[in-house]
């Protein structure tokens, strides 16, 4: 059981949860995730740790209501409620050192998992340039938190309602074309965004890392549902990742695998998700 100590709506369908999880908070490192099971009917879903407080024994999770379980968590849970199961921390921690100049790219709620990694880069003396992308200004989250640990923050929105109009890859490409010295790019967000970031940095041979949020069941190496082709080899995102060399990831295969349960999701939503109207 993990009690929700604080909950707030950050943007349409996007919620921040601060959860009492001392065993996870005690050990977790930037880049790691937890498996969450909200109640006895729930799926197990991976959520990246967006922040943690070792003293208080809490972790922060940012959740967008997009699937059955995330909708249930965002819409039916409130402060003081218990999340049934949280297991972790899982996955390989982010590789941490002073690289020099690091560009971190967060798309949508991808900003949240980027944050603790960027903060650690900052603390290690890296120059941190943050690019935050969203569809529109309402969906831009954690801009202030990112600003506090970045040397520069660039915001892009698809419709131009905040920051510059366009995609995260636009300022990134301009930076690289202008000959800026970039030692590492970290991208977390929708698969298509990470794919485009990788394609943008490839010609400039800038090392690029992507954190993959694949379909998982157990999150501990047991099911293989998270397998992804990296450099021609099958890797398990849960134990070998979640971070991989973005230039080696077969994003086309990943996009395809994310579609596996699309038909079932339609079936779920037709009864409103967790209504329990269907018996045996």
């Amino acid at each position: 059981m993990a009690k929700i100590l604080f909950m707030q709506n950050l943007a349409p369908s996007i919620y921040e949860f601060v959860v009492d999880a001392p065993l996870v908070a005690h050990k977790c490192q930037p880049g790691q995730f937890v498996m969450v099971r909200t109640d006895e009917y729930s799926e197990r879903i991976p959520l990246t740790i967006a922040d943690f407080d070792r003293e208080k024994g809490t972790i922060t999770l940012i959740v967008q209501a997009v699937g059955n379980t995330t909708q249930h968590l965002c819409e039916s849970f409130k402060e003081g409620d218990d999340i049934l199961d949280i297991a972790g921390p899982l996955g390989q921690p982010s590789h941490m050192k002073n690289f020099g100049t690091v560009v971190v790219v967060g798309g949508g709620i991808g900003v949240a998992p980027v944050y603790p990694i960027a903060r650690a880069y900052h603390e290690l003396g890296n120059k941190v340039i943050s690019i935050i992308g969203a569809r529109n200004k309402d969906l831009v989250i954690w801009q202030d938190k990112m600003a506090a640990i970045s040397d520069e923050v660039i915001v892009t929105t698809d419709d131009g309602s905040a920051g510059r109009k366009g995609f995260v890859t636009d300022p990134l490409r301009e930076m690289l074309e202008a000959g800026a010295k970039v030692d590492l790019v970290l991208a977390i967000g929708p698969v298509i965004m990470m794919k485009n970031v990788a394609a943008t940095t490839k010609p400039f041979e800038v090392p690029t890392t992507a954190s993959l949020n694949t379909i998982m069941v157990d999150g501990t190496g047991m099911c293989g549902g998270c397998r992804v082709m990296v450099g021609g080899e099958n890797k398990f995102a849960c134990v070998d990742g979640p971070e991989f060399d973005a230039h080696q990831v077969d994003f086309a295969n990943l996009v395809m695998r994310q579609q596996m349960y699309k038909n079932q999701e339609v079936l779920e939503y037709s009864c409103g998700g967790h209504c329990r109207c269907v018996e045996e």
Partner: protein, 463 residues
């Protein structure tokens, strides 16, 4: 008595059970059990006991059944075996205790497994298996058990009875390991597993779920920070193998572990009442022929697959699954495609499986395992029309503990190196079951847990 034949096991009819998840075998009635028990000759030198990896006093418990003293029977069983309801269902008795029974020479051996199951079920239903509290003298020492599968459960039970303060760590949200995520409900009802786990709790075993050892705590932290005097690692064979052929990342391709975990642990067979979905095709190929493959095949059938094929590169005699499981699978309409080896998986333009290319095989000379090794028949490739593929070709050790415990010696396959009683390269750290031997049986893992519990007791007594 019955011309040397054993009492048949009542079962759900095949064409009914292959559409539900209720238990296939219904269990002996009291009358059948007593009758079967009376067949036992109560040999002065019982060879069946030697055939049992945990040395259950078989003739003694059977005698108690024959005398209708079921309270005594369960007591005798539980002295050596803390999970009789599980073992009575999933042990390969035909290769163990029953294979040694003298009645088997001319007729059929005593149905020891079925009697074990009967006693455990009867005791559970009639409240005869409650733990007698108050007999345990606390030793004031703490033991951590990593993994709550059959090996860990056995070690935990034995150590608790010896007076140790035992904490059982489980990575998933329910304790039971493979008994929960792997073996299907129709072969081993989860309520029975949970009943056995409750018995451990009654013994004082503390169970901590959602604790991934290697991540939440390392082995070193368990000993140095959490105050455990010894650790037993029974983390099983949890990492699924793939064939490394083209098309394995297509949608509609599962590891048996994923398919069975979705259905068993996450109860996807009740979707959408539960949120975890599972994909089931109309025509499913299960690659492999062990017990896990049979479980996956029979599960796919129950979830509505019209054709389910077992695709295996050797012949029926070489299939590693229990004969009983193969027999049940065939009865339920599972089709065997023997001497067929998958070459690649074919997919459509949306990335979904639409065929399994196989090459036909023929049996050549016996290999190192004594089984005749299959040889490809040149030019015999063909495409099996399927829209689902499940890889059930085995599992290896999970790398988490290895990665986070550098001083723990492992072999080249990643299995922990341990001696016959489970001692590893780290003093106070013991290991057993599939994490040491590679994927094997529930009972052999239990045997390892039992031996390690003894060894841990000796180790801690000498500290």
């Amino acid at each position: 008595m019955r011309g040397g034949m054993r009492n048949a096991m009542p079962e759900q009819p095949a064409d009914i059970r292959n559409k539900n998840f209720e238990e296939v075998a219904l269990g002996y009635t009291k009358e059948m059990a007593v009758d079967e028990a009376q067949r036992c000759l109560n040999c002065p030198k019982p060879r069946c006991v030697e055939g049992c990896p945990v040395n259950v006093e078989i003739p003694k418990f059977i005698k108690a059944v024959a005398e209708e003293n079921f309270a005594e029977a369960i007591k005798i069983l539980k002295r050596k075996n803390s999970l009789p309801a599980v073992c009575g269902r999933v042990c390969p008795q035909e290769n163990q205790c029953e294979s040694k029974c003298v009645l088997g020479i001319k007729g059929e051996s005593v149905a020891i497994g079925r009697l074990e199951r009967f006693v455990a079920d009867y005791a559970r239903e009639n409240g005869l298996d409650a733990v007698e509290a108050g007999e345990i003298t606390p030793k004031g020492k703490k033991v951590a058990i990593v993994g709550s599968g059959p090996s860990g459960l056995t070690a935990a039970g034995d150590l608790a009875k010896l007076g140790y303060e035992v904490t059982l760590y489980e990575a998933l949200h329910d304790a039971g390991g493979v008994l929960m995520y792997g073996i299907p409900q129709f072969r081993l009802p989860k309520e029975i597993v949970q009943h056995e786990i409750k018995a451990l709790k009654d013994l004082g075993v503390k169970i901590v779920v959602n604790a991934v050892i290697g991540r939440t705590f390392t082995i070193k932290e368990l000993m140095e920070e959490e105050g455990f005097d010894a650790v037993y690692v029974g983390t099983g064979a949890g990492l699924p193998y793939f064939m490394q052929i083209d098309g394995e990342n297509l949608n509609g391709v599962y590891s048996a572990n994923e398919f069975l975990t979705r259905v068993n642990l996450m109860k996807a067979y009740q979707f959408p009442k539960v949120a975890t979905p599972v994909y089931v095709g109309k025509k499913a190929a299960i690659v492999g022929a062990g017990n896990v493959a049979m479980d996956a095949a029979r599960t796919a059938k129950r979830l509505g697959a019209e054709h389910v094929y077992i695709v295996y590169r050797r012949g029926e005699d070489e299939m590693p699954a229990r004969k009983e499981e193969i027999h049940h699978a065939k009865e339920e309409g599972i089709e065997l495609r023997l001497l067929n080896n998958p070459v690649r998986i074919l997919g459509d333009d949306k990335g979904w499986v639409n065929g399994l290319e196989c090459v036909k095989m023929e049996l050549g000379e016996p290999d190192a395992s004594g089984r005749r090794s299959p040889v490809e028949v040149k030019g015999s490739e063909y495409v099996l029309d399927v829209d689902m593929v499940v890889m059930a070709i085995g599992q290896g050790p999970n790398p988490l503990i290895k990665q986070t415990t550098p001083e723990l010696e492992v072999n080249k396959r990643g299995n922990i190196v341990a001696n016959e009683v489970g001692a590893t390269s780290i003093p106070g750290v013991f290991a057993g079951g599939d994490i040491v031997t590679g994927a094997a049986t529930v009972i052999s893992a239990m045997g390892a847990g039992k031996r390690a519990a003894q060894a841990i007791d000796e180790y801690l007594n000498n500290l």
